[in-house]
């Protein structure tokens, strides 16, 4: 691994760990959802690093996986936010 790849991998792992920590340690649903998003960002960064193969050419498959992942993340986050709002308004009644 080149130094740049190492740096990207370290940042990706750090994001994954921070997100996992927030997801596991926070009692607040919104913070858990944000934690899952930060974890996802770590995974996407890692996939982008692996897309650069040993020969220097870019592998399009991880790039396609990342864009699919981003769209699914946005959809899941939107649904998660709607669920959080609904549970809040239901617990107020």
């Amino acid at each position: 691994m080149s130094p740049v790849d190492l740096l990207y991998t370290a940042v990706a792992v750090a994001l994954f760990g921070l997100g996992l920590g927030a997801l596991a340690l926070s009692a607040r649903p919104l913070k858990k959802l944000l934690g899952a998003n930060v974890m996802g960002t770590g995974v996407f960064s890692l996939l982008i690093v692996t897309a650069r193969g040993p020969d220097g050419a870019t592998d399009p498959v991880p790039h396609a996986l990342v864009i699919t992942g981003i769209v699914v993340t946005v959809a899941a986050t939107g649904l998660g936010l709607a669920l959080i709002r609904r549970t809040r308004s239901a617990s107020k009644d």
Binding site: A14, G53, V61, A82
Partner: protein, 213 residues
């Protein structure tokens, strides 16, 4: 206790990093994706992966957006939200920016076959423009919930329609296996419908999130 668990997560992350660094680099599928690209009808390898090699994944991804939009809409209160940004500056900005955003979304959709771009990028930009109109009180079409959902289903329907069409039209046709001669046009048609569908899905998600109780 929280500190201990935090240290635990830091150690797990370090172990993960060590494992990733120790993993030998694999050749990946880049060479295969490039050698077969002539049969996909596009020259951007990422678009080739999304709409040809792994078309199943992309079809199911559109289904995920549609399901999330429908589910969030079912959870949300019925009342639409009032404008959140008002005043002459916000209104003028929305009026000036939206045409450019729509134009840029069309460009991204078109360029996706040969350079970075495509349906998802175009749809997120278009949805951003629609949301800008929404928050400044100029409710953009599609206005009703039912029509928004119908448009959100458009991408899935077009993808399925083309997929079934190519299977039925050829003698030994396979679902989602676009024939090389017309694959470029089919992909552009699918991506155009998918752009409108995803943008409508994202708009529906935004509306579900902002509706006032």
């Amino acid at each position: 206790m929280t500190v201990l668990v935090g240290v635990g997560f830091a150690l797990v992350s370090l172990a993960l990093f060590a494992a990733l660094v120790a993993t030998p680099e694999a050749p990946g599928l880049g060479a295969l994706a490039r050698s077969e690209i002539a049969a996909t009808g596009v020259s951007n390898p990422v678009t080739a992966v999304l709409l040809d090699y792994r078309a199943y994944d992309t079809l199911l991804e559109l289904v995920v957006v549609l399901l999330a939009a429908v589910a969030a809409g079912a959870l949300a209160p019925r009342e639409p939200a009032p404008a959140q940004l008002d005043g002459p500056v916000a209104e003028a900005a929305a009026g000036l920016l939206t045409p450019g955003i729509v134009l840029m979304a069309g460009y991204l959709l078109w360029i996706g076959s040969k350079a970075p771009g495509g349906a998802f990028q175009a749809a997120s930009l278009l949805a951003g423009g629609l949301i800008l109109l929404e928050v400044t009180g100029k409710t953009p079409p599609p206005r009703s919930e039912a029509v928004t959902r119908a448009v959100a289903g458009l991408g899935v329907l077009a993808f399925l329609g083309v997929g079934v069409g190519v299977a039925v039209a050829a003698a030994n046709g396979v679902f989602l296996d676009h024939p090389a001669s017309i694959a470029g046009s089919l992909i552009l048609a699918i991506e155009s419908a998918a752009t409108l569908g995803i943008a409508a899905g994202l708009l529906a998600l935004f509306r579900a999130g902002t509706a006032s109780a």
